[in-house]
């Protein structure tokens, strides 16, 4: 079930109505049943994967939790009795035991995820999203940040909450669980906020992203005809499409949850307004980045072997470099993993590593930048900030090329052709009319992007929807009708169009 299908809209309407008709306490069970049904429509065998992960995580989290409880009792009893050394030894032994449970579960879950994503097979929907979410929960339990959930059905709902199953976001238990299990009462405001958000998602996805798609497809499908300046056009079009598509999908997810009275974490904060790549990764696909930071980067960088390595390096290679090297190792691992999570191909791996390289390079060059900025009198003024944003956007566009072609060779070759082909004339002589957009397409895309830009600018001063809801009712309804009609008329859907799957669905 695609998030933009009629089926989903109908399903959603039913779920919302029944949810509020259910008694408060039964709502979570109803949502679980709805989620199972939702997932089953994508293929029954997909249930096998999510079921396996849920059972694995449930059992191991309970084992870890039991051990923690037993240790706490032991520690209390023996605090005054045993000497510190002995207590420390026992504590470490128990921590080791829990780490073993955790490691086994993580390996098994990753195994399930890898099996599900063997290239050539059809990956079960959302597998890599819910696996990460489940593992994050398990690691949080092991870190004693949260208590393990005793109710298997509640844990299942957390892992399989249906809107998130298609393309995330990857929620943290402590953030999602309260509103997910509470079964909030009907509130017309939540419905309004949710429906607006969903419509806005439809607009971004159907009107902007799916319309941009044809040009992207034309250029990427012919590597001998479309080179040079076309690639420049491609990376910008693709980056806009990717954002409209992915964030539009997330809007639908968050709006859906909101209408059910559930708060799902934001995944994008106007990422293309970032002034550096580092900032970009705090604003793009936020929940994934948080996951890799919290659970992988922190785990690796504070691991004992790395801390030891760090000490060793500092002794042998000098304080400044020795301090940095372990960090680079840790970030290398994280970005390599991030790349591979997107897809088990060299292309994504190299994509991850180029992110790593640029991030580390700019970290190293920061003092130089600082100096340069000192010599620019308008360094904190708008024009310079705009320059920074433009630069960061282009950088991101370049790296997104890895997503356009299937091999590293093609990607780099195409990127190189921008500088060697020398065909920048095509940008002005009308050749671009041949990449698959009609005049009306171009007008709609331009208008859609402009609207998206305006909304982004408005967003900086707080939620646009909240402000809309404060308008007088007639104005509000008129505005909503405009959005609805725009989606209805200018959206790409229905017979004659193969609805492009959400670009992020694959991951």
């Amino acid at each position: 079930m695609l998030l933009t299908s009629y089926e989903f809209i109908g399903f959603l309407a039913l779920v919302i109505i029944i949810n509020y008709l259910c008694p408060k306490k039964a709502r979570k069970y109803f949502l679980l049943a709805a989620s199972v049904l939702f997932y089953a429509t994508a293929g029954l065998w997909g249930l096998l994967y999510i079921g396996a992960i849920t059972v694995l995580v449930y059992i191991s989290s309970r084992l870890i939790g039991k051990n923690q409880e037993a240790y706490a009792v032991w520690a209390k009893e023996n605090k005054a009795v045993l000497p510190k050394e002995q207590r420390k030894a026992y504590r470490e032994k128990q921590a080791g035991k829990r780490l073993l449970f955790l490691t086994v579960a993580v390996i098994l879950c990753l195994g399930v995820m890898v099996i599900g994503r063997i290239p050539g097979l059809i990956a079960p929907m959302g597998l890599s999203f819910y696996t990460l979410q489940a593992l994050g929960y398990l690691i949080d339990v092991n870190r004693e940040n949260i208590k393990p959930e005793r109710n298997f059905f509640k844990l299942s709902l957390f892992i399989g909450f249906f809107p998130q199953l298609v393309q995330g976001p990857i929620s943290r238990y402590e953030e999602l669980a309260p509103s997910l299990f509470e079964g909030r009462d009907f509130d017309i405001k939540n419905i309004s906020l949710g429906v607006w958000r969903i419509m806005w998602g439809f607009f971004k996805k159907l009107v902007i992203a799916d319309r941009l798609f044809s040009g992207v497809q034309t250029i990427t499908s012919d590597t001998s005809k479309y080179r040079g300046a076309y690639i420049l056009v491609l990376m910008i079009l693709f980056s806009l499409e990717l954002y409209a598509d992915f964030s539009g999908g997330i809007d639908i997810v968050i709006g859906t949850a909101k209408a059910l009275g559930i708060d799902v974490q934001e995944n994008f904060i106007r990422p293309y307004f970032s002034k550096s790549l580092k900032e970009y990764w705090r604003r793009w696909h936020i929940t994934m980045c948080n996951w890799f930071r919290n659970y992988l980067f922190y785990s690796v960088s504070t691991a004992k072997w790395l801390q030891k390595f760090s000490k060793f390096c500092r002794k042998r290679m000098g304080e400044a470099f020795g301090k940095r090297l372990p960090l680079y190792v840790a970030t290398f691992i994280v970005w390599g993993a991030t790349g591979l999570w997107h897809g088990f191909t060299w292309n994504y791996f190299v994509w991850g590593l180029s992110n790593w390289f640029i991030l580390m390079l700019s970290e190293e060059l920061e003092p130089v930048y600082e100096k340069i900025r000192g010599h620019i009198p308008f360094a904190d003024k708008l024009p310079y900030r705009l320059f920074q944003m433009g630069r960061t956007f282009l950088l991101v566009c370049c790296m997104n090329l890895f997503d356009c072609y299937s091999s590293v060779g093609d990607t780099l070759g195409m990127f190189g052709s921008i500088f060697t082909e020398g065909n920048f004339g095509i940008l002005f002589d009308g050749s671009l009319a041949g990449i698959g957009y009609s005049l009306s397409d171009a007008v709609i895309i331009a208008a859609g992007l402009l609207i998206m830009l305006c909304v982004s600018l408005l967003q900086r001063k707080g939620s646009v929807r909240e402000r809309i809801l404060r308008l007088a009712p007639p104005a509000r309804y008129a505005l909503f009708t405009c959005l609805l009609v725009a989606v209805l008329l200018f959206g790409i859907y229905g017979v004659g169009y193969d609805s492009t799957q959400f670009i992020y669905n694959r991951f």
């Binding site: 092991n142 580092k278 705090r282 919290n294 922190y298 960088s301 504070t302 372990p326 960090l327």
Partner: protein
């Protein structure tokens, strides 16, 4: 209070431009990024003979100099 001074020195070395005496929300507002946090873990580990592990890397432990200090004291206890 010598301990606190040592911590302040580490912090100011890392970010001379921040006034750690008053600043809060260090981690929540991403004033300290993940790289800074890991730097701190190494430095504090060296200076204080405590092991900060991944589970301690929470905003409530890193949002202010005071919070960091309290975390160190707690870890020394263990």
């Amino acid at each position: 209070m010598a301990q606190m001074d040592k911590l302040m020195e580490i912090l100011t070395d890392l970010h001379p431009e921040i006034d750690f005496e008053t600043q809060d929300g260090l981690m929540d507002k991403a004033i300290l990024d993940s790289m800074d946090i890991v730097h701190l873990v190494t430095e504090i580990g060296d200076e204080f003979d405590v092991t900060i592990s991944a589970k301690d890397l929470l905003p409530e432990n890193f949002n202010s100099a005071q919070a960091i200090f309290e975390m160190i004291e707690r870890l020394e206890e263990e």
